[in-house]
């Protein structure tokens, strides 16, 4: 740990955890919420996991999606156990295309499920059942129930019931915290504690287990065509090799938690929960990723997250 100069300045400390004086940078995104119900919570979860698979980063997957929370029977439109899923994309058209693909392939196909709009009354909408109904090959039927239209698509099990459309809201994508500790095990334990604390209503953590170990930067040093490449400044193995490392002294591994939320406030509060949970679970450092502040509309300085949730 000698001979390396980092550009890292500590903003404040929480116990033994140093919180770096930096900010997370995030972007406006559009999102939809669907409520998937099933005969059992296990089948609803199967559909939700399938639907939110390979939806980690909008760059590579065209959308970001995650399970928001599980719902008890009383909370769902059809009185069965369910899961709410949030799906984010850059615009309403993107949300509309991805939601049709994913509900069509992962929910309609899944035994016992039904799929409902989780943002009823939203000003803007995108068709869901209105497009998927064509799978019914002319045998589909619609019902207006309580003022909302649903499609009944006959399938081998019986019928798949799906909302005509989903509401599309304006959210925030790309909030983050980066959690470091002396070695991989300690850093991962702290990151897992943070991810657990951050999940909740209005929040999607799109990466596996909510955690990304390969944080990226925009563009690349070696190629003009690469949209993103490794965040080499936060790679511990390079800290003695590059001049501008951001890996703090004593840190052996870093994990990032990327947060998409339904509002700036939801993202900020999730970051606050994560930061304090990580500090209480052995993180030696908490920092955040940004692009110099020029790209993202939303800035979340870690200094504003000092008060516990």
């Amino acid at each position: 740990m000698t001979g390396v100069t980092t550009g890292v300045t500590t903003g404040f400390t929480l116990g033994d955890t140093e919180v770096v004086d930096t900010f997370a940078e995030a972007f406006p995104m559009r999102y939809a919420r669907v409520v998937i119900t099933g005969a059992t919570d296990a089948w609803a979860l199967e559909a939700a996991r399938s639907m939110t698979g390979f939806a980690t980063s909008v760059i590579g997957c065209k959308c970001e999606a995650a399970i928001e929370r599980s719902l008890i029977a009383d909370e769902t439109p059809d009185g069965r156990p369910g899961i709410s899923v949030l799906l984010f994309a850059m615009d309403r058209e993107g949300v509309g295309k991805r939601i049709v693909e994913r509900v069509g392939q992962s929910v309609m196909t899944c035994p016992t499920t039904a799929c409902f709009d989780g943002l009823p009354g939203a000003e803007r909408t995108a068709p869901l059942g209105g497009t998927l109904r064509y799978f019914g090959d002319g045998f589909q039927a619609s019902k207006v129930i309580g003022g909302r239209r649903f499609w009944r698509i006959p399938v081998m099990e019986g019928e798949f019931l799906v909302s005509e459309s989903v509401g599309v809201g304006q959210g925030v994508g790309g909030g983050n915290v980066v959690i470091g500790a002396g070695d991989e095990d300690a850093a991962l334990a702290a990151a897992q504690a943070a991810a657990d604390a951050m999940r909740g209503e209005g929040i999607a953590l799109p990466f596996p287990g909510g955690i990304v170990r390969s944080g990226s930067k925009v563009g690349s040093l070696t190629s003009k065509s690469m949209p993103a490449s490794t965040n080499h400044q936060m790679a511990p193995t390079l800290r003695a090799q590059i001049a501008d490392t951001l890996v703090p002294d004593g840190v052996g591994a870093l994990f990032e938690i990327v947060i998409d939320g339904v509002s700036e406030e939801a993202v900020r509060e999730a970051m606050r929960r994560g930061l304090h949970a990580a500090a209480g679970a052995g993180a030696t450092h908490v920092t955040a990723a940004n692009f110099g502040g020029k790209l993202g509309e939303f800035h979340f300085p870690l200094s504003e997250l000092r008060d516990p949730p």
Binding site: P77, D78, K143, G146, F160
Partner: protein, 257 residues
């Protein structure tokens, strides 16, 4: 404030009550409502001569009628919005050609509940009718959209020439149901013998009906959990017509899985 009309005098002849719907009484005070004229047999009669009127036509469009209204036909007919609540039995043609809003009848309904006017093809085109008692013949005749839910039974001819929409009778749909039905859904909480022009398809748990039954429960009818959880037999018809309609019959035997 809700506008409330309580019957105090039995009318001398049948009364055509179609003007007593929320959207027509919106913003009227009690004395203006009392001065409105209704057809009564070959004569007209003032609302105030038959009813005790209290409150005023409200912004939220809630209207309450009370009393033995079996001599009143066309209650809630042509309604497009708001809520009309009736405490007592009603005559024929209640909710006929209704297009929106909610009509709640705490009592029995007469014939042609939510049906098409004489000579017209399409009946109810939207809204919800809830009856806590029984309904008479040809409920939902010509229905195009919307929901009729009856806690008791419907009499013969339910869903006659129905185009689409849903009629649910928790206590059972009457005989000769769905004659000429194109796309409509009839759901019967009791066993029935469908017309020969209906063909048995399968037993299943219909997800859309489940949602509708939950809506019916929300509207105040006592929907048994068994109906939500259980299996229903699907009969397709009327095959002398388009044949895309259905009669769903609760199947207790094969119900709870």
């Amino acid at each position: 404030m809700t506008l409330t009309l309580t019957l105090r005098t039995k009318p001398p002849a049948r009364v055509r009550a179609a003007p007593l719907i929320p959207e027509l009484l919106r913003g009227l005070n009690a004395s203006s409502v009392a001065a409105l004229l209704l057809r009564c047999g070959g004569e007209t009669v003032a609302v105030g001569d038959l009813f005790e009127v209290s409150g005023a036509g409200s912004e939220d469009e809630a209207l309450v009628l009370g009393g033995d209204l079996r001599g009143f036909d066309w209650i809630g007919a042509g309604m497009v919005s708001g809520e009309l609540e009736v405490h007592g039995d009603v005559g024929d043609w209640a909710g006929a050609e209704m297009a929106g809003g909610v009509l709640r009848i705490h009592g029995d309904a007469g014939a042609r509940l939510g049906s098409a006017f004489p000579g017209t093809r399409a009946g109810m085109t939207g809204g919800e009718i809830v009856v806590t008692g029984d309904a008479g013949e040809e409920a939902g005749a010509g229905m195009r959209r919307g929901l009729i839910a009856v806690s008791g039974q419907t009499a013969a001819g339910t869903g006659l020439r129905m185009l689409a929409g849903t009629v649910i009778a928790l206590g059972g749909i009457g005989d000769e149901a769905g004659l000429g039905n194109k796309r409509g859904s009839l759901a019967s909480g009791r066993t029935l013998e469908p017309l020969p022009s209906y063909a048995y398809a399968t037993r299943f748990r219909p997800p859309a009906l489940r949602l509708q039954l939950l809506r019916v429960r929300e509207l105040g009818l006592p929907v048994d959990d068994a109906l939500l959880r259980g299996g229903w037999a699907r009969w397709s018809g009327d095959r002398t017509e388009l044949g895309r309609g259905e009669i769903l019959v609760f199947d207790e035997e094969n119900g709870s899985r």
